[in-house]
C-alpha cells in the first residue's frame, strides 16, 4: 500500500462529505479552481518536503515568493521582456535561497534561526522596493501572459505546472543522489557524515532549491494575476508547512513525500472551500479548519497504523 493512501483517503472523504451536502462543490469548475488555488503555496510545500526531510526548515519562503514576484514585476516595468524577467525572478529566488544556505553553513546556525532573520529582511526590502504599492506590469501583450493564463482541456496552466513540478521533484527526491543524501542526513547526520556525504553542500543545495521554487511560484503568480502587491505571500509559510506535514512528511526528518505534500495542499484548499460551501459562520471557520485538519491527519495516522500492523502480521506469517 503506498504511503500516501491515508491522505488520499482523507481528501476523498472530505470532497465527498462536502459534495454530498452541496453538490455544486463537485462541479468541474470548483474542483479545478481548488487545485489552481493550491498551486502557489503547494509548489512551496513541495520544496519544504526536502528541507523537512533534511531536518531543516525555511521560514522566509512567503517573503521570498513575494520579493521574487516583486523583482519580476519591477523588471517588466523597466521594459525587460516578461520571459526574461520571469527567469530573473526564479534566479533571484534561488539567490535568496543561496543566501539562506551560505549563512546557515557559514554561521553554523540552524536554518530556522537564519531564515527567521531573512524573513523580515526579504519582507522589508520588498516593501522598500514597492513603496507599499502594488506593482502592475504595464504591457500584457507578451506571450508570457498568454501562456501563464492559458488552458488546455479547460485546465489552467498553473495546474499542469504544479503537477509537473510534483512529478519532477518526486523523481529527484526518490531517484537522485541528492534525494538520497537529503534523506540520509535527515535520518542520521553523524552516520551520513561518516559515510562521506557532503552535509553542508546538501543543505545549501536544498535551500537553493527551496528559493528557486519560491521564485518560480512568484514569477508565475505575476503572469497569472498580472500584479503583485506588498501583502501577497506573507501567509504562505504556515500553509506550506501544514501541507507538507499533513501529507505525511514528519518534522523530525529522514523521510518525506512529495505526492503527500501535493495532496496535503489540496486538503487545505478543500477545507477552506468546504467551510464556505457548508455555510460555516466566519467566526467558527478558523476552528472548523483546524478541527478538520486534525481529522484528516487522524485518518492518515489510523491507516498507517493499520498498514504497519498488516505488514507485521505478514512478516510473522
Amino acid at each position: 500500500m503506498p504511503d500516501e493512501i491515508g491522505v488520499v483517503a482523507a481528501l476523498v472523504v472530505l470532497v465527498l462529505a462536502v459534495g454530498v451536502v452541496q453538490p455544486n462543490f463537485l462541479s468541474a469548475n470548483n474542483l479545478i479552481q481548488l487545485v489552481s488555488n493550491s498551486a502557489y503555496f503547494g509548489v512551496i510545500a513541495l520544496g519544504m518536503v526536502f528541507l523537512l526531510a533534511l531536518g531543516e526548515i525555511d521560514l522566509s519562503v512567503g517573503w521570498n515568493f513575494n520579493f521574487s514576484a516583486v523583482l519580476t514585476a519591477e523588471l517588466m516595468l523597466f521594459g525587460v521582456d516578461p520571459w526574461i524577467a520571469a527567469a530573473c525572478g526564479i534566479g533571484f529566488g534561488a539567490a535568496l535561497g543561496l543566501l539562506n544556505g551560505v549563512m546557515t553553513v557559514a554561521l553554523g546556525l540552524p536554518s530556522i534561526i537564519v531564515t527567521l532573520g531573512t524573513l523580515s529582511v526579504f519582507q522589508g526590502l520588498s516593501l522598500v522596493v514597492t513603496k507599499s504599492r502594488a506593482i502592475i506590469p504595464p504591457d500584457l501583450s507578451s506571450s508570457f501572459f498568454a501562456v501563464t493564463n492559458s488552458r488546455l482541456f479547460g485546465i489552467p496552466f498553473v495546474v499542469y505546472g504544479f503537477v509537473f513540478a510534483a512529478i519532477v521533484l518526486h523523481l529527484v527526491f526518490h531517484k537522485s543522489r541528492f534525494g538520497y543524501r537529503v534523506q540520509a542526513i535527515g535520518s542520521n547526520a553523524e552516520a551520513a557524515k561518516l559515510a562521506g556525504i557532503p552535509i553542508n553542500r546538501t543543505r545549501v543545495v536544498a535551500l537553493v532549491l527551496m528559493g528557486a521554487l519560491c521564485g518560480l511560484a512568484g514569477a508565475t503568480f505575476v503572469g497569472v494575476r498580472q500584479a503583485i502587491d506588498p501583502t501577497t505571500g506573507g501567509e504562505f509559510l504556515l500553509v506550506a508547512i501544514a501541507a507538507a506535514v499533513i501529507g505525511g512528511t514528519p518534522v523530525t526528518g529522514g523521510m518525506g513525500t512529495i505526492v503527500g505534500a501535493l495532496i496535503g495542499a489540496l486538503i487545505i484548499s478543500t477545507i477552506r472551500s468546504g467551510v464556505i460551501f457548508l455555510g460555516v459562520d466566519a467566526r467558527w471557520s478558523t476552528f472548523v479548519t483546524g478541527a478538520v485538519i486534525l481529522l484528516a491527519v487522524a485518518i492518515d495516522k489510523a491507516l498507517r497504523v493499520q498498514r504497519d500492523r498488516s505488514r507485521n502480521r505478514n512478516r510473522e506469517n
Binding site: 500500500m1 493512501i5 488520499v8 483517503a9 476523498v12 470532497v15 465527498l16 459534495g19 454530498v20 452541496q22 453538490p23 455544486n24 462543490f25 463537485l26 462541479s27 468541474a28 469548475n29 470548483n30 474542483l31 479552481q33 488555488n37 502557489y40 503555496f41 516593501l127 513603496k131 507599499s132 504599492r133 502594488a134 506593482i135 502592475i136 503568480f221 497569472v224 494575476r225 498580472q226 500584479a227 503583485i228 502587491d229 506588498p230 501583502t231 501577497t232 506573507g234 501567509e235 504562505f236 484548499s269 477552506r272 472551500s273 464556505i276 460551501f277 455555510g279 459562520d281 466566519a282 467566526r283 471557520s285 478558523t286 479548519t289 498498514r307 498488516s310 505488514r311 505478514n314 506469517n317
Partner: protein
C-alpha cells in the same frame, strides 16, 4: 507485503477513487443551481475587529430590508489569496452577487473574470480602479488631507514641534494613501510642524501599544500623535495617561472604544467612514442590479461619507440626522440604534435616491 494483502489494499483504494469519480461525474452532469432566491456573498478582508463587525451589520440590515439571503465570510487574517478562495467558492456555490474589498491588485484579474462570467460584483472599503465594478467607500486622499489640516489647525497656525504619524500595516496601499493625505494636510496647514513617519505601528492591540510606547520614549516632546488605524487612539490614550504626556491624539474610526477616549478627553478627534453604509450599499446595489436582470453593475463610486468626531462636532454625511456626541456614542454601541439612524435617509431621504449620488470611479482618490 504479500500478494493477497496488496490486492486488498488496491481494492480499497480503487473503491475510494471509484466512489469519488462517480460522485463527481454525476455532479458535473446533474448539478446546476437554478434557484430564484437571491443570495449575496459578502466577504470582508478579515473579521478581527469592531470595524468589520459594523460593516457586517450594515450588510445584514440591507439583506433583511431587501428580503435576500446573505452569506458572510472572511479569511482568518488579511490574506488576499484566502479571500479570493472564499469569493470563488461562493461564486461556485451559486450566489447571485459578490461584495468584497479589493484588498490586493492581484485580485483584479480573478474578480474581473467573475464579472465576465455573469456574477455581479461590488467592491467596498478597499478600491482598485482596474476592477470593472462599483466601489463603496471613502474618498481616501482628500479625506485624510482634511484630517491633517484639522489637526494642524487645532495645534495652531504658528505651532512648532514633531507630529508622529503611524499606521497599522505598511503593505496596504489604502493606508499609504491615508498617510500621504494626512502628511499633505499637516504640511499645508502647519508649515512649522515637523512631520515624522509614517511608522508601522501594527494592528494587534499589544503590538500597537508597544510600538507607540517606543515612539513616545524616542520623541518625548512631540506635539501630536496620529494613528491612521482603529487601535491607535486607545493605545495612545493609555500611554498619555500613564506617562503624563501632553500630545494631541487623533486617529481613525469611531469605534465605541475610540469614542470613549474622545469623551474622556485623552483623544481629540476620531475619523469615521460610515462603515455601516459600506456594508449596506453594496448589498443594495447588487440586489437592485439582479432584480433589474443585469449581469453586471456599472463601475461607479459611492462616497460613504466621513465624520470628524470631536466632543464639539459629530457632523454626519448626507441628510442623516444631526446628533450630539453623546447620541453618537449610544449609536456606536447599539446595532439597533445604528440601523434606525440610517433608516430615515435610506427610506425617504437622500440615500433613497442613491443612484443620483453615484460618481465616476476616478473621483475616489481626488
Amino acid at each position: 507485503m504479500n500478494l493477497a494483502s496488496r490486492a486488498g489494499s488496491r481494492k480499497r483504494l480503487n473503491s475510494i477513487v471509484a466512489t469519488g469519480v462517480v460522485a463527481i461525474t454525476a455532479s458535473w452532469f446533474g448539478a446546476s443551481l437554478a434557484e430564484d432566491k437571491i443570495v449575496i456573498g459578502f466577504v470582508t478582508h478579515h473579521h478581527l475587529d469592531q470595524f468589520q463587525e459594523r460593516i457586517w451589520q450594515g450588510a445584514r440590515t440591507a439583506a433583511a430590508d431587501l428580503g435576500v439571503e446573505l452569506k458572510l465570510a472572511a479569511p482568518d487574517n488579511v490574506d488576499p489569496e484566502a479571500q479570493l478562495a472564499i469569493v470563488q467558492s461562493l461564486v461556485n456555490s451559486g450566489v447571485s452577487g459578490i461584495a468584497t474589498p479589493a484588498t490586493s491588485e492581484s485580485l483584479v484579474a480573478p474578480l474581473n473574470a467573475i464579472i465576465d462570467g455573469g456574477t455581479p460584483v461590488v467592491t467596498f472599503l478597499l478600491n482598485s480602479p482596474n476592477i470593472r465594478a462599483p466601489f463603496v467607500g471613502e474618498r481616501t486622499f482628500p479625506t485624510w488631507k482634511e484630517f491633517g489640516k484639522r489637526v494642524a489647525t487645532k495645534l495652531g497656525a504658528d505651532a512648532k514641534g514633531e507630529v508622529l504619524v503611524g499606521y497599522c500595516s505598511a503593505d496596504l496601499e489604502i493606508l499609504a494613501h491615508r498617510a500621504d493625505g494626512t502628511i499633505a494636510g499637516l504640511k499645508e496647514a502647519g508649515p512649522g510642524l515637523t512631520v515624522l513617519g509614517p511608522f508601522d505601528v501594527k494592528l494587534s492591540a499589544t503590538e500597537n501599544y508597544a510600538a507607540w510606547e517606543a515612539l513616545a520614549l524616542a520623541h518625548p516632546n512631540a506635539v501630536a500623535m496620529l494613528d491612521l488605524c482603529a487601535p491607535g487612539i486607545v493605545s495612545l490614550s493609555k500611554l498619555k495617561t500613564s506617562g503624563g504626556y501632553n500630545w494631541l491624539i487623533a486617529g481613525a474610526d469611531t469605534t465605541p472604544e475610540n469614542l470613549a477616549a474622545v469623551e474622556a478627553g485623552t483623544a481629540w478627534m476620531a475619523e469615521g467612514q460610515s462603515e455601516f453604509l459600506q456594508g449596506y450599499m453594496p448589498v443594495l446595489m447588487l440586489v437592485d442590479a439582479i432584480r433589474s436582470g443585469k449581469k453586471a453593475v456599472e463601475p461607479s463610486f459611492f462616497d460613504s461619507g466621513n465624520q470628524f468626531v470631536t466632543l464639539d462636532n459629530a457632523d454626519e454625511p448626507y441628510d442623516l440626522k444631526d446628533v450630539s456626541f453623546k447620541e453618537l456614542v449610544e449609536i456606536a454601541n447599539s446595532p439597533e440604534l445604528t440601523a434606525a439612524h440610517y433608516k430615515a435617509s435610506l427610506e425617504n431621504g437622500q440615500l433613497k435616491d442613491w443612484k443620483s449620488l453615484l460618481q465616476p470611479l476616478e473621483n475616489q482618490n481626488k
